[in-house]
Subunit: 231 residues, 2 copies
Amino acid sequence: MTTSSSAKPTLAVIGGTGAEGSGLVVRWAVVGYPVIIGSRSQEKAASVAAELSAQLPSGSASIRGDENGAAAKAGDVVVLCVPYAAQEGTIAQIVEGCQGKVVVTVGVPLQPPKVSTVWRPAAGSAAEEAQAQLGDGVRVVSAFQNVSAAHLKDLSYTVDCDILVAGDDKAAKAVAIELANAAGMFGIDAGPLANASVAEGLTALLIGVNIRHKIKSSGIRITGIGRAEEQ
Amino acid sequence: MTTSSSAKPTLAVIGGTGAEGSGLVVRWAVVGYPVIIGSRSQEKAASVAAELSAQLPSGSASIRGDENGAAAKAGDVVVLCVPYAAQEGTIAQIVEGCQGKVVVTVGVPLQPPKVSTVWRPAAGSAAEEAQAQLGDGVRVVSAFQNVSAAHLKDLSYTVDCDILVAGDDKAAKAVAIELANAAGMFGIDAGPLANASVAEGLTALLIGVNIRHKIKSSGIRITGIGRAEEQ
C-alpha cells in the first residue's frame, strides 16, 4: 500500500463494484485519488478493481479491492455507495473502520416498485440513519444522490448535474465538495444533514422524469449562484 | 365580472397580496389570465389589485380583489399562496369555493428560525395537508415553491427556475404546467403529490444557498431532458 503517502486522500468506496460506485471510482482515480473498492467479497472487489484499472489512462492513481471492513479501515475517506436495502448490514461491517473519518453516503432510500415516489425512513433520510448507526465519532455527509449511473464510467461524458452536499460539519462537507469538483461535477453546500432527505427525495423525482421523458440521465442544477464568475 | 367569458380560466390567487403571490398575479394577468386576488380583507385585496393593475401594460387581463372565500368561489382555478402558518385557517375559508376545482399550493412548510433546514408536517408536505383538508372533491397540485419572490413582479426579469409540479391527477398537473409556462417558466411533471415534499424541501435548501452565496434568487433546473428540442 504505497497510496498512503499520496498527497490526495485514499478513498474507500464501499459498494464500488456497482454501477454508480464504479463510475465514481473511475472519475476519482483518473484525477489522482487512490481508491480501494469495498465489497462483501474480496475476490469480487479485486476483480472489479483490476477491470476498472485497465480502463484508466497511465498516470492514474491505483485502484485495488478488498472486503468492506478492510477497505473502510484503509481509506482516509469512506464513500458508502450501496443500495439502501444493503445499507444497515454494510455499515455493521465498516463501523469500526469509519471511526474518526468522513463518510459520504450516496445511497437513496427507495421503496420498489414505486421508485419514482419519494419514500423516507423514520430517521428522515438514509444519511441520518447512517449517522445514527455510525455514531458521533463519524462525520456523515450526503452527496452524489442525483447523479445518474448511466455514462458515469465514460470519462468523455460531461455530467450535467450538481452535487448537493448536506452535513452537519463544514470541514466534512468541504471534503465531499472537493470530491465532487474533482470528478468534474459542481459541489454545493446544501445545508445540514437533515437536508439530505431533499437530495435523496430528488432521486425518486428524477427517476420519474427519466421514465416520462424516456431518458436515463436527468439531473439537477442550482441556478442563480453566478457560477461562471466563481469557477 | 366580464372575465368569465374569457378563453383563459379565471385564477383566484389566495394570498395574492404577498410578494410571491403578487409576482405570479402580474405574470399571469399580463398574458391574459383574469385574476382575482384573495385576502382576509376585501379592502386590502382590492387595493393591491388596483396597484398591480396600474403596473400592467394595456391589453392585460383584469385583476380584481375580494375576500378569500368569495375569491375562491369566483375562480376557475385556485392558487393557494399563503405562508404555511396561515394555510389551515385560510383553507377553512375557501374549502367550499374550491370544490370540483384544481387547487395549486405554493406555500412551503418552514420552521423559523431554522428556515434553511428542511421541516415537514406529519402528512409529509403542506400540499398533502391541503389535500386532506380540502377533501376528495378537490384536485391538489403543488407548484412554484422554488421560485424566489425577488424580482418576480419585474416582467423584464427572466426567472431561471423550473417549476416542479406534483399531483395525483394528470389533467390537474397539466393545468399547473400550463400556468408555469404561461408565466415564462418551465413546468415539469414531478410525479405524485407525495413528491411535493421534495419541492417544498428544496426551498429550505435554496434559502440556505441564498444565505451562503449572499444572493436572493437561487433556483433549480432539471437537466438532461433535452428541452432545447422540446420547446
